[in-house]
């Protein structure tokens, strides 16, 4: 039924790169785009050739929010029946590391999607915020939950209740993004990070991601116990043997992904 794809997908050296392709609407995230994104991420999650996934927009926008025109006149019941945010749960279940490359706007749903990524590389020109309050609503795809976990209650409230944007430098200072790079390098630097990451042991990458995310769900003692089990579990992989032997032999490890 869909005539054109709203995302572009490519692979490069163990890295899957998906780019939003709705430049005219600053990559507004409509349900079709989110479906396509979730489908693509699940395909790569099951593809042994892919270790790391990069999610990017274009220079002007990572994603400037949800498709407001599409929602404006819907009723509460229609929104409930459609339950469009369930697609987002599929993205949350992706086990491989997600790296966001953020240039320009990451607003509303764009910010929420950005926060679902594991490593976030922002260009100096990035503008990040949850401005839903300005159109009479509030974040609906995790913003009220993930933002305070990332930046603390006071800053999250400020952003969500005033709708103001953060610059890249402020976002870095607040711990919302991982690194800031000059605008010319937003994508190639992200790719460098992703390719480097893709050379690590694939199982270790996925379990480490799972363990870090556990920190947001579990009490400390439970998280520590969980971490410990995953750590021990990695000794069942060949990559652990190779990694530790290479370290002892002062050479570079070559991981096979199992």
């Amino acid at each position: 039924m869909t005539s054109t794809s709203l995302i572009l997908a490519d692979t490069d050296d163990g890295v899957g790169v998906v780019r939003f392709n709705r430049p005219k609407v600053l990559n507004a995230l409509n349900p079709q785009l989110m479906e396509e994104l979730a489908d693509q991420l699940e395909t790569w999650d099951a593809d042994p050739a892919i270790n790391v996934i990069v999610i990017a927009g274009n220079e002007r926008a990572f994603a400037a929010g949800a498709d407001i025109g599409d929602m404006a006149e819907r009723s509460s019941v229609e929104m409930y029946e459609r339950d469009q945010f369930t697609t987002w749960d599929r993205i949350q279940r992706i086990r491989k590391p997600l790296v966001a490359a953020v240039s320009g706007f990451a607003l509303g749903g764009g910010c929420e999607l950005m926060m679902m990524c594991d490593v976030i590389v922002a260009a100096e020109n990035a503008q990040i915020g949850q401005p839903e309050i300005n159109i009479g609503v509030m974040p609906g795809a995790g913003g009220t939950q993930r933002l305070p976990r990332a930046v603390g209650k006071a800053r999250a409230m400020d952003l969500i209740l005033t709708g103001r944007f953060l610059t890249a430098a402020e976002a870095l200072d607040a711990g919302l993004v991982s690194r800031v790079v000059p605008p010319e390098h937003w994508l190639d630097e992200t790719m460098t990070i992703a390719r480097d990451m893709a050379k690590k042991g694939s199982v270790a990458l996925r379990l480490a991601k799972e363990a870090v995310l556990k920190a947001y769900e579990a009490p400390l003692s439970e998280g520590i116990a969980f971490e410990r089990k995953l750590f021990y579990m990695l000794f069942a992989t060949e990559d652990q043997k190779e990694g530790m032997r290479a370290f002892a032999e002062k050479r570079r490890a070559t991981f096979k992904g199992h």
Binding site: P182, E184, H185
Partner: protein, 269 residues
């Protein structure tokens, strides 16, 4: 030309040989910042930033002054008993965006200071990348004389140019600095006779316009960042900027010209 909503009335612009000259044009008020002038200057700067033909900017004043700063006559109605002037709002809306636009402008901005530069007019000159001064120029951090503090970036740029002690002296006394002293203090790059200022500014701007534009843009970005970066951050910024510069056609041309022992012909790409 790009179509703008209205032709500015308080700003004159002329573009020649990739040099955009912006003239503050309210000579009867010594080019004071009216609401209209600050609005039109900001719009002009934003256009200039997008205009690829404009590689270097020159900012100067019409008539005797560079700029006398805020037009106090325009604020008169705010100074009535029981009324607070709320100057912070003016800085948010009118002045700070201009200063940010100049610093973010990825091309050299030259102030050709033809006469007095006072208050926000002084700040405007200090926010520029280079300053040429007429022998009749003067710089006055006049704010303290009306019970105010240096704004529009003056408290940032001045101590970085001349050091804390001298900045304190100028900002706390409101004493005018003439062109000769400005040169000694390092506030201006060069002082020339009044009737040679325009030509000197054009000459310097034309020279910069013939330099590799991307390298200049990246150099400016680095120098602006250096004011607030640590060494580590700056080394990283340099690494990225060099990576970018290394990919320009002008870099290739520069290296080839050197090897072929000829003058490089930079095209700004």
């Amino acid at each position: 030309m790009t179509a703008t909503a209205t032709t500015p009335e308080t700003i004159l612009t002329s573009l020649e040989d990739h040099v955009l000259t912006i003239t503050l044009n309210r000579p009867d008020t010594y080019n004071a910042f009216s609401d209209q002038l600050s609005r039109e200057l900001l719009a002009t700067l934003k256009d200039a930033g997008r205009n690829r033909d404009a590689r270097v900017l020159v900012i100067t004043g019409a008539g005797k002054a560079f700029s006398s700063g805020q037009d106090l006559a325009e604020l008169k109605e705010r100074y009535v008993p029981g009324h607070e002037p709320h100057l912070g709002k003016d800085l948010d809306k009118r002045y700070n965006p201009i200063i940010r636009a100049i610093c973010a402008m990825e091309k050299p901005v030259i102030a050709a200071v033809n006469g007095v530069a006072a208050g926000a007019g002084c700040s405007l000159a200090l926010a520029c990348d280079l300053r040429l001064a007429s022998e009749k120029a003067s710089f006055v951090e006049v704010f303290v004389n009306v019970g105010l503090v240096p704004d529009s970036g003056s408290s940032f740029f001045l101590p970085r140019l001349i050091g804390h002690a001298r900045a304190m002296e100028l900002c706390c006394t409101g004493r005018p600095v003439d062109a000769a002293e400005a040169l000694t203090l390092g506030i201006v790059n060069r002082v020339v006779p009044p009737d040679e200022l325009a030509a000197a500014a054009t000459k310097m701007a034309t020279k910069l316009a013939a330099m590799p534009a991307r390298a200049l843009a990246l150099t400016k970005r680095l120098l602006v960042q250096s004011a607030t970066n640590s060494l580590e951050e700056q080394l990283t910024a340099e690494r990225f900027a060099q990576e970018t510069a290394g990919r320009t056609a002008d870099h290739t041309e520069g290296v080839l010209a050197f090897l072929e022992k000829r003058k490089p012909a930079f095209r700004g790409e």
